[in-house]
Symmetry: D2
Subunit: 147 residues, 4 copies
């Protein structure tokens, strides 16, 4: 298998996830063979990211407008075809907590317990008006580090 730059040891990496959500694949996201198109994983990542932040109480806290999270970059590796009607579980974890940004990693597991997708992306916390990066509060950093 091709080496993925953001994963050192796939088995170890996989074990570090705990939070996940089930994904319902839309019929409109598939082609006539039922294959999921290559745009949909980024929709799934977004769903998982929001639920993950909510589970930490960080989605609500960002609506008080001191800082809002914006996506700095996103990437996805397609390891296995996903099909309509499959049950997919999408995992997300914090990989790195920076001064005003965090790196999240993503993993999709299919019904045969195999990795269908891996991914990662940076979220930057910025001021809602100025757009300037805002340092994360210590309490939030701790929450994110101890997930």
């Amino acid at each position: 298998m091709t080496k993925i730059a953001y994963i050192e040891d796939m088995e170890q990496w996989r074990l570090e996830f705990s939070f996940s959500i089930p994904i319902s694949i839309r019929f409109s996201e598939t082609d006539m063979f039922g294959h999921v198109n290559n745009v949909s994983p980024f929709i799934y990542f977004e769903e998982a990211r929001i639920e993950f932040l909510k589970s930490l109480g960080l989605f609500a806290s960002t609506s008080n407008k001191k800082a809002i999270p914006i996506v700095g970059d996103l990437q996805c590796n397609y390891l296995k075809q996903m099909f309509f009607n499959q049950k997919i579980q999408l995992y997300v974890k914090v990989h790195y907590v920076g001064n005003s940004s965090i790196d999240l990693h993503y993993m999709a597991i299919d019904e045969s317990e195999e990795i269908a997708l891996t991914g990662r992306g940076r979220l930057v916390f910025v001021h809602p008006e100025s757009g300037k990066p805002v340092p994360l509060e210590q309490s939030i950093k701790e929450k994110l580090t101890n997930v």
Copy 2:
């Protein structure tokens, strides 16, 4: 600006593009402030990729079913907000030609001639039934190298 792993020298990198298509941003791809959501760039990359392959005669040739291109990975860096009603030009170029895969790079330029998005992704050519990688014919390699 954050260093982007797949770009050594941004100014040089930008100059290497020539093929591009105009992007029409859908209203449904934006939030109420008119910001483009973070999934849409991957739709734009797909549009550009298809038109690029067509321009080389490689989109048609893949329908004779000796080899079909599948997406191995994709990534996007969000450098500048894009808005509804903006005119965006999306560039694509071949970065690398492998044995049975190619790396494409992407760049979105906004109305003020600034880079709004950068991206890259690998296309792997596989046999339509077996799913195994198929070596690129020499003539195709040359086409891709001389773009």
Copy 3:
């Protein structure tokens, strides 16, 4: 409330549904206030339609290629705003069985047990190659009539 042409008596109409699926509203389907956009209900109708046909064994039977269902028309009435994070239940029923087509009705119920959407649409069964309407078999008509 505005009269809806395909509904004679709303209370009676509502009681005639029994099949339903839960809908998960995607974040990308909403604007910044969390309102669902006006395109998404047609995606939800499609999900419900497929699950409904499957529940009757008619989704599989159409893949033997004697007849495939195509959408003749679709309509939706928006009665109540739907929001991100709401639990929506989408109902579907057969309204009418014709010679080679059926009329399906749709209803979305929100968390306060109110109707958020109503809809309807015709499915026409056609020959996969000729595209000509194909009469429904008697056994299928009975299945659809006795739902």
Copy 4:
């Protein structure tokens, strides 16, 4: 052809359109045969509706927040398959101007100058906070009537 309830005379109806926009069909909106899925027409209607309102100066005027247009209902009749790479022109016209709402009609014309889609839908102008219908100003009614 099936009678469409909102069209009395198809030839006459077609002649009453003048405003139109070109539609670019996304690859991700099609299945592997290049057929456009049945959700996309509602995206196209939205594009055309926005451009039409803009052309009348009514899209900007609604952002001063006295009244915002919300979609009351939408419907679409699928007359002809549309394909990836086709050039489609989408027409929109005012069919009816009410006290606080308007009815818009839609028509998609394909490359062989045939009607691929027809549609209609009601826009209701409501107060941005109360959500109550707001009567259209006389000047706006005149603009809409004289299109």
